[in-house]
């Protein structure tokens, strides 16, 4: 399994990268309308175009970009915005940690490039596809997601048109449908089923029983539910590691 990037031929590297691009198509479909909405929202708040575009280019994190625009408009302090973003996105720490054990690539440059594109959506694909042990595959996947996110932002900012209202509302289901499409086939594996069930129960408890009394952000809830569920899984199932 010690196939390093250097030892494979350029043509097979290219096809691995392209396979990653193809695997990212569902992510791109989901990202474009959301990014358009982001561009439109920022525009409606008169945020300078170059700031909106550089947010999608440098930050590349959907939820926190929306929240940042909203916080800016309500006149929040910069440190509050930075802290909120950090808390919201710290869940990617868990995802990168999980990816680090999956990816064969050892090139630090490639790993640093891959890290930039770790989102909920790209991670979900990267960790459920067998080919995703290759760093180039993940890079291709992240690249198409990044392009879709930025193209969508440009459309929102400069063309200032979105999808018709009803279709836009229906697109909201897109990324969730993708998550469902990625999770459901794995549920035949009993440990996976148990872990996913615990995560859902945890989320329900946090969302309906704790948050009303003690507000917890979405990012923190996802982290708590994930850590508890994966922890229970690691405790219950000693053998037969899921792949």
């Amino acid at each position: 399994m010690a196939t390093s990037v250097q030892s494979t031929s350029p043509s097979s590297q290219q096809s691995t990268f392209r396979a990653g691009l193809r695997a990212g198509i569902p992510v791109a479909i989901g990202y474009i309308p959301i990014a358009i909405a982001f561009g439109l929202l920022a525009k409606s708040f008169d945020l300078p175009n170059v700031i909106t575009l550089s947010m999608s280019f440098f930050i590349f994190a959907g939820a926190s970009q929306f929240i940042t625009v909203q916080l800016l408009m309500t006149g929040s302090m910069y440190w509050e915005i930075i802290l909120t973003t950090f808390i919201l996105n710290s869940r990617h720490f868990l995802m990168s940690a999980s990816l680090s054990q999956r990816i064969d690539t050892t090139s630090r440059k490639l790993l640093a490039a891959i890290a930039f594109g770790v989102t909920d959506e790209t991670f979900s694909i990267a960790s459920t596809r067998k080919e995703a042990r290759s760093g180039l595959f993940v890079l291709g996947l992240n690249t198409i997601a990044f392009l879709a996110w930025n193209i969508g932002t440009w459309i929102g900012v400069f063309l200032a048109f979105g999808l018709p209202g009803t279709l836009q509302a229906s697109m909201g289901i897109a990324l969730y449908a993708m998550f469902i499409g990625l999770l459901v086939p794995s549920l035949t594996n009993r440990p996976v089923f148990v872990v996913a069930s615990f995560a859902i129960v945890m989320q329900a408890v946090l969302h309906w029983m704790i948050t009303p009394f003690f507000p917890i952000s979405d990012g923190i809830r996802i982290i708590i539910a994930t850590v508890v569920a994966a922890g229970i899984g690691a405790f219950l199932f000693k053998e037969g590691e899921v792949s």
Partner: protein, 100 residues
Amino acid sequence: MMSLFLLVLGLALVTYLPRLVPLLWLKELALPAYMKRFLSFIPYAVLASLIFPGVLSSTTTTTSALFGGVVATMLALLRVNLVVVVIGAVFGVYAFQTLF
């Protein structure tokens, strides 16, 4: 304007660091077996946590969102291509909202 741009760079930094640090440094550590099992369960725990309860508020009404979720689940059970699952759910919600 300049201060806004510095804010964007600050946000970029606090977003990139949690993505980067584990990928660069956990790779070289020899993790104990339970840690490896824990990390191998992360994707499924994350997926479930992302789906629920977020999916319920993903469209304008909870019922249409629920309908979209059911369509996606059924398509996923049929093991169709992921793009079909995504587009099928979007049109399911669209049809639901147009009809009801």
